[in-house]
């Protein structure tokens, strides 16, 4: 207290405010370095209600700053999936209910909208329903809330993990049903009826139209989404401050104590389920309208996991965290599609990890240098063993020219035991950044290595163009895969090593393997890589910051 003599005067006493709590910010110690700056920034921008304004103003500026289709698409994803995450935020964040069927409500909303605003030719060639979109959106939301109530009511007796598994079953059954209800005997029809359109979903949906104003552009949908998100955020913000919100949070911490204080956990759970499901269904309806179609896969397990990642990343139970999570989870993955950005992100993260994970810090620098030297030695070593394939091609061409000139057959140089790429342009992989090209020309990238199996007969010749049985053949991809697996193993081994010398000795090949895995496989298969990193992110986040980026650390009752 004595360090802050002004605090006593600054505090204007108010009824219902605790001095100690109000002055928390003054007493808090800033963390040193970049993290401290980050803390200050988040505090200035995100304290009170200010963050809502900041986000909305920036959000509202987007359509004026750019008319790039891709940017608007991503912005639209942010608001719609942000809305979905907001629903989950109520169920899992405030109320602490682990609902793993949450993506199902997104489908409920999307399909309700679709059934009310499309030509349903798969059911009957003449059937077409085109209701005003305000009606279909409202009924989607209401139906979502009803289904939420139903699911909540059927699982009221369950808690924790049981709830998780029953809701997961609900989500899977929904996707299963939407994909499978394609030949159903309906009374009144002669043939079996395709009720849901199966995995192909429902297509050619109407655009949204409110009171004569038709919304058909990406900008239009972005505005609708942004307005919807704003209203929902304000609603959730006030709900959080209301008695219901407080009761939810207290139920999350201790259900028995909540009950003892005279609140009804069953009613609270049902309300959380219904409101969360309604928001998710609303988001689903907007998504269907914007996409112009809806598929069962829109609400499948990957969507569920990504939504959980969104909520958890920002901090479970933190409203600004949901917005931040939605921004990160929807902007970063598409940005990774660009080879340049993804390469910079990968190498940047690698450098940051190297310099922050290990104490003393010089280990990072030494092992990085070591990896550089190691790679260079490998490069020259491979060059000594056998010339890289572009040299072989040149030699073959020269030999051909020479033989044409002289009329004698000139044999070109023999390849060594290794055929490898040294020029990235020979590699059949996308590359349009200098960074990638530089790294690839520094790596030894084997092209096609054949190893004779020890038990294969003597007559087997593995150097034939199409190697016969009895040869192991390793292509470029296989080396990338092997490097990926080895790098994972090495990381696990590294975590167990305590001596500095050994650790550096292991870190050098690990860095090299990581770069090989990245250049040969991860940067090529972007969509799989994205999911791998989301999985990794969830685990690391839970270990190092279980309260997310903006969440507050919760006190555990023992």
């Amino acid at each position: 207290m004595s360090e802050n003599p002004n605090t006593q005067d600054d505090f204007k006493s108010e009824i219902g405010k605790d001095q100690w709590v109000e002055q928390y910010g003054n007493r808090r110690q800033r963390r040193p370095g970049v993290l401290g700056i980050f803390d200050t920034l988040t505090e200035v921008l995100f304290s009170q209600r200010r963050w809502i304004l900041v986000v909305l103003i920036v959000g509202a500026l987007v359509p004026f700053l750019t008319d790039n289709e891709q940017v608007l698409q991503i912005a639209g994803d942010v608001v719609i999936f942000g809305l979905l995450a907001l629903g989950l935020h109520i169920v899992a964040g405030y109320s602490g209910l682990l609902d793993l069927g949450f993506a199902g409500f997104f489908l409920v909303g999307g399909y309700t909208y679709a059934y009310m605003s499309a030509d349903l030719r798969f059911i009957d060639p003449d059937l077409s329903v085109h209701l005003p979109s305000i009606i279909s959106i409202i009924s989607a939301t209401v139906l979502g809330a009803l289904v939420g109530l139903l699911l909540g009511a059927s699982s009221l007796r369950l808690s924790g993990d049981y709830l998780a598994i029953v809701t997961l079953g609900f989500g899977l059954a929904l996707v299963n049903g939407l994909e499978g209800l394609t030949r159903v005997q309906v009374p009144g029809f002669e043939d079996a009826v395709n009720l849901t359109g199966g995995p192909d979903g429902i297509q050619n949906l109407d655009d949204l139209a409110f009171f004569g104003l038709e919304i058909s552009t990406k900008t239009g949908y972005y505005w609708v989404g942004l307005i919807a998100l704003t209203i929902c955020i304000l609603g959730v913000y006030h709900m959080n401050a209301s008695p219901t919100g407080r009761a939810w949070r207290s139920m999350r911490e201790d259900e028995l104590a909540t009950q003892a204080m005279g609140m009804d956990p069953r009613g609270l759970k049902l309300r959380a389920f219904a409101i969360g499901a309604a928001i998710a269904a609303f988001a689903g309806a907007l998504h269907a309208a914007r996409q112009g179609s809806i598929f069962p896969s829109d609400g499948d397990t990957p969507r569920l996991i990504i939504t959980y990642a969104t909520v958890v990343l920002g901090g479970l139970g933190s409203l600004p965290g949901v917005v931040l999570g939605a921004l990160i989870m929807n902007i970063v993955p598409p940005a990774l599609q660009s080879p340049l950005i993804s390469a910079f992100l990968f190498y940047g993260t690698l450098l940051i990890l190297l310099f922050t994970m290990f104490r003393p810090r010089w280990q990072g620098i030494v092992s990085l240098l070591g990896a550089g030297i190691f790679g260079t030695i490998l490069l020259f070593g491979a060059g000594l063993l056998s010339p890289p394939n572009y040299v072989l091609e040149q030699l073959a061409e020269e030999a051909e020219e020479l033989s044409e000139e002289t009329g004698e057959t000139v044999t070109p140089a023999e390849p060594g035991i290794l055929a490898w790429y040294a020029m990235p342009e020979n590699l059949d992989m996308p590359s349009n950044s200098i960074l990638t090209d530089t790294m690839r020309s520094w790596l030894v990238i084997p092209e096609d290595v054949r190893i004779k199996q020890p038990w294969a007969g003597a007559e087997v010749d593995c150097s034939e163009r199409r190697p016969p049985d009895g040869c192991w053949r390793l292509r470029t991809d296989d080396f990338g895969n092997a490097a990926f697996v080895l790098a994972i193993v090495m990381v696990f081994v590294l975590a167990r090593v305590d001596t500095i010398g050994l650790r550096i000795a292991l870190m050098i090949p690990t860095i090299y393997l990581m770069i090989v895995a990245w250049e040969l496989r991860l940067s090529v298969e972007t969509s799989v890589t994205r999911k791998i990193f989301i999985g990794l992110l969830l685990v690391l986040l839970m270990i190092y910051r279980p309260n997310g980026l903006l969440g507050t650390r919760r006190v555990e009752v023992v």
């Binding site: 049981y162 899977l172 999985g535 555990e556």
Partner: protein, 373 residues
């Protein structure tokens, strides 16, 4: 109706095979849950890894098996597949525990669950990246030739043997029940033997009636699956009931803190539990490959889910419960597939789960636990 009756025994057989595999998965789930109260979502992916390990070993032996088939070689290859898959998976389970769950031992309940989802997503997609998304076929015909199988005529005798052994087991159960004298061993033994004898009677009666119904076939791969599953479960039973580490496991499951105070090394016990549970999942992966013949990166999700449902139906945290739940689930699923619709077998399985949970929230064999304040 005639048709349904004729199909019944065959579906029971299918269900038993499936159920034996589910029971192995459920055991791992149940043991981990018993010790840590943790829902290990990555368990299904460990199963998938096990299935792939078996696939690659079998693939390596195909040239030799193709040249000359011998029973000894075949048994050797199957044993090697099982042992390798169990070793790799056990090790993988220990690694997962150390890196993804141990730092979260005292975190809020939701944290390890999300971490588990992350691990599952990571393993699935890492396998997709490395091995590709193609479905691969187990070359099972080389190791278990399809002509080895039991058909109609043999079943009457087989069913008779089962019924007779059921009577013997039932007598043993009665004996154990009478002699139990508050002794845990006899208590458990009587319960297990009772369950066994009832299931043997049901299975035996069905088998004896089978030939009158219609054609039924039990392929050798299914026999291998059921026999190995029973063998593994028996080994597990002895391990948990008869060894020091098993006693430590039961102690930690009952009360972690009290066990720690009595000198049980909780970390070691958890590690061991993960090793055993994951090894069983790996074995289940190999058996699944031998029976169903396919493996790809996504099988783990479904299998893990079924394993968990089986564990919950039987009473999670309870080892005989997991076995019973697995068998029951397998039979439910086979019936759903055979008699109702193969599209909705998963939906029906989930309905069964919800019904069991609503009627007996702690599972069929689970004890009702009072909530601690």
């Amino acid at each position: 109706m005639e048709d349904l009756l004729a199909q019944l025994p065959q579906q029971v057989l299918n269900g038993l095979t499936l159920g034996a595999i589910y029971a192995l998965i459920a055991l791992g789930y149940s043991m981990v849950y018993g010790v840590l109260q943790l829902l290990n979502f990555a368990h299904g992916d460990v199963f998938m890894i096990g299935s792939f390990v078996g696939f690659f070993i079998l693939d390596a032996f195909v040239p030799q098996l193709r040249e000359s088939f011998s029973l000894g070689m075949s048994i050797f290859v199957i044993a090697l597949m099982l042992i390798a898959a169990m070793g790799v998976c056990g090790f993988l389970g220990v690694i997962i525990e150390q890196f993804a769950y141990r730092p979260l031992r005292n975190a809020p309940r939701i944290a390890p669950l999300i971490s588990a989802l992350g691990v599952s997503f990571f393993i699935q997609n890492a396998v997709l990246l490395v091995l590709g998304g193609d479905r691969r076929n187990y070359a099972r015909n080389f190791v278990i030739p399809p002509q080895f199988r039991i058909e109609n005529a043999d079943f009457f005798a087989f069913g008779g043997v089962l019924v007779i052994s059921a009577i013997i087991i039932g007598l043993l159960a009665l004996g154990a029940y009478i002699a139990r004298k508050n002794n845990r061993l006899f208590n458990d033994a009587s319960r297990l033997l009772g369950v066994l004898s009832i299931s043997f009677i049901v299975a035996g009666a069905l088998l004896m009636l089978a030939p009158f119904g219609g054609r039924m076939v039990l392929s050798a791969s299914r026999i291998v699956a059921i026999a190995s599953a029973i063998l593994l479960m028996a080994v597990l039973w002895a391990l948990v009931r008869r060894t020091r580490i098993g006693a430590a496991m039961r102690a930690v499951a009952t009360d972690q803190e009290a066990a720690a105070m009595m000198g049980v090394d909780v970390d070691r016990v958890v590690m061991f539990t993960f090793f055993i549970g994951s090894a069983l999942a790996g074995a289940a992966g190999v058996l699944n490959g031998l029976v169903l013949g396919q493996v790809y990166h996504f099988i783990g999700f479904n299998a893990g889910l079924k394993g968990f449902i089986a564990a919950v139906i039987g009473g999670i945290g309870n080892i005989p419960g997991a076995m019973l739940g697995g068998l029951l689930l397998g039979i439910i699923e086979a019936f759903a597939q055979g008699f109702i619709s193969s599209t909705f077998q998963d939906v029906i399985v989930f309905l069964a789960l919800i019904v069991v949970l609503l009627l007996r929230p702690s599972g069929l064999l689970g004890a009702r636990i009072a909530q601690k304040v």
